[in-house]
């Protein structure tokens, strides 16, 4: 293979101006931050999430979550759980940010959400109806949009009246990094002013069993939730006198291309992303992995033992799509209301079993929770 040099991409950084998160620790950045700091067990009895038998009696679930409790009764009855999560997390991120969205800029504020398969429950139930109804076409037309992968992002746009770039990226555990990489390109090209980037996933028996059957995960405990980050051009934010709560300095994605092993491909990406960010491995304070063994091997090779390592599967269980977003949220929580962590550098790595790899470098600022208001 010909060796080529990477183009300079670090001349553009994403500034995070606000974020929202849904996790077993609670709904919102403050609740998540507090939960992380106490380090309490976030699992709940899976019976609180579904009446069906599931592969593991515990789950990192949002027990008791009802869309109408947070979004009102109007318009929520047909939202699937994942879509409700997305609408709520986007709303939290907007509320956490000092960016004012109004008629002068709503055409330039958008949504970039990651997913795995959309709502497997919605699609599988729809498919099931074609088999069990008296006639195969007797499905509910109102629920048809829920079978499409972009349902959540489209509803988030409707709910929050955001008419800018609206994109859904399928990538499971890689989807959040893919969204951040995509957002960098879109913002850098001036196609939007601000983007809500993140991923959410719902706990359902269908997905719990499907994830379990792949036998690819480091844990059998299922999970759900996710996080959304409002990202903008960091330099433009600063020029306007606004301090981001964190900067995402570089994001680099790749694939094994079925040419080598995952750990080698990821190690290569980590070296590149560090070079793009102008950061030495020894400067990293924290590394957040998705929990896959191959990621640990790559990090042993490139980053060494000094940085703290957090495996997000300990917080999210076997729920790669939500976990990818919670990886970023965990870094932001580390900084939230903690100015002593100012300027700390973190690395996030992710991968899929089929060979996608990615890494991002974040620099946190110590802005206290909502102290910009």
């Amino acid at each position: 293979m010909t060796v080529t040099t990477d183009p300079p991409t670090s001349d553009f950084a994403l500034g995070v101006s606000g974020w929202g998160v849904l996790s077993p620790y609670g709904l919102g950045a403050d609740e998540f931050t507090a939960g992380l700091r106490t380090g309490r067990d976030g699992t709940v009895d899976a019976a609180a999430l579904t009446d069906e038998a599931v592969p593991d009696p515990r789950a990192y679930g949002l027990a008791g979550f009802r869309a109408r409790d947070h979004l009102g009764r109007k318009g929520t009855s047909f939202l699937d759980r994942r879509t409700a999560f997305a609408v709520l997390a986007c709303g939290q991120a907007l509320a956490d940010s000092d960016l004012v969205v109004g008629d002068d800029n709503r055409d330039r504020v958008g949504v970039v959400l990651g997913t795995n398969v959309g709502s497997l429950q919605s699609t599988s139930d729809y498919s099931r109806d074609t088999l069990v109804q008296e006639k195969p076409y007797l499905v509910n037309p109102i629920l048809f949009p829920n079978t499409v992968l972009n349902c959540a992002a489209g509803q988030a746009a409707i709910w929050h009246q955001l008419r800018g770039v609206n994109t859904t990226l399928a990538g499971g555990g890689m989807a959040t990094l893919a969204g951040l990489r995509y957002a960098m390109t879109v913002l850098r090209r001036g196609r939007a002013q601000a983007l809500l980037v993140g991923a959410v996933e719902e706990y359902t028996p269908q997905m719990a069993w499907a994830e379990h059957a792949t036998a690819a995960a480091p844990t059998t405990v299922g999970g759900e939730g996710g996080a959304v980050f409002l990202v903008e051009d960091a330099a433009a934010m600063r020029a306007a006198g606004r301090d981001p709560v964190a900067e995402i300095i570089a994001v680099d994605l790749g694939h094994t291309g079925d040419r080598g092993d995952l750990a080698t491909a990821l190690a290569d990406r980590v070296r590149r992303v560090l070079a793009q960010a102008g950061v030495a491995a020894e400067d990293l304070a924290t590394v957040v992995t998705s929990g896959a063994a191959a990621e640990e091997r790559a990090l042993d090779e490139v980053v060494g033992p000094d940085a703290d390592r957090v495996a997000i599967s300990d917080l999210a269980g076997n729920c790669p799509t939500a976990a990818g977003a919670l990886q970023v949220a965990a870094v932001l929580a580390h900084h939230r209301g903690a100015p002593e962590h100012d300027g700390c550098l973190s690395l996030i790595v992710a991968s899929t079993v089929d060979g996608a790899v990615g890494a991002a470098v974040l620099k946190g600022a110590g802005r206290a929770a909502r102290d910009h208001r």
Binding site: L138, V139, L149, G164, L169, A213, A215, V353
Partner: protein, 402 residues
Amino acid sequence: MNRRVVVTGLGPVSSIGIGIDAFTTALRAGRSGITPIASFDTSGFLTDRAGEVHEFAPDRLLTRLDPAEWGRSSLFAAAAARLALTDAGATDVPDRSDRVGVCMGTTSGESQVVERLTEHWLAHGYPGTPQRLARQLPAGRVAEAVSRELGLTGPALTVSTACSASNYALGYAFDAIATGEQDYMVVGGADSVCRWAHAGFYRLGALAAERCAPFDQDRAGVITAEGGVALFLESLDSARARGARVYCEVLGYGLTCDAKHPTAPDATSVARCMRLAHQDAGVKPDEVDFICAHGTATPANDTAEYAAVREVFGDRLPPMSSVKSMLGHTMGAASGFSALAGALAISAGFLAPTINHVTTDPAMTGLDVVPNESRPEQPRIVQVNGFAFGGNNAITILGRLA
């Protein structure tokens, strides 16, 4: 860096032809790919036609992937990508594989895998979920299949913005190459025919029984369809340096979101998307010679699309045809096939027709749908429309290399 971006390879896996030569011949001839459904039992359905790719034989098209390990949509994507790479004469490019990115669109990902899993769960319950199917489930595999088939180590993104996803992918690739993030991009989209989409479109009142007749006064809706499509993109400098044949240049694109309704299109938002695309491409409406319409043949889409075109173009409407009349609605691949029609309009000198056309909707004055027969023309600038559920509008602008 702001490099010019060109299309140098095309790879269709469609109901009217596999490979660019067969596809071009069929498109020029206005052939229909709509046939009785073979992939599922249509007993009880009131309509039984779709645009299935009966001739798809993944093992004959693929070099590296094992078809048994991948869902149909991923196989469509990988096969289309293999064809596009070959068509681009870029088979040596993977030696610089890190500089090749992948971005593929899909509406429903591995919908047939979901259906097989659902059948299994219905018959046997959840325990014992087949591992083979569970592993094929992630929609992100649509792009990853391309990476693995072609041995590409650059980024692999799957855009799942429903039926405009291929245009999103094309737009992203345009940006990635223009900025120097990537040197080459394999883009496109793929989807598979499935029972639930057939049922859902029917219940929305958006499924035609016999034929898809966009912009016709008697249009009755979509015919569900499938396929894979890929385009190979590179910088103009790269194409010139290796002496590649250039189909067309990608001039720009626009994205908007309706933020209004999950399924109903919004003409105002579509018009804004057109203006953004024109502005990005640096073209004026009167410079657009041909529009490859989204043209689903649902009453709502075609009315909104016409209204938007009228709003942006005024009294001078370019010819506007829909390949969905031939292919049916290939969902995540749809705007990719439209982009192929646009690229071929520029490179091969013909406007693809809207077949099944009898009478243009009388509300659509001044509309030329290129009825029933392709037309020799030498368009310079082509607009490719892609709209979707979720209000995800994406429009790309292609141009003759000047």
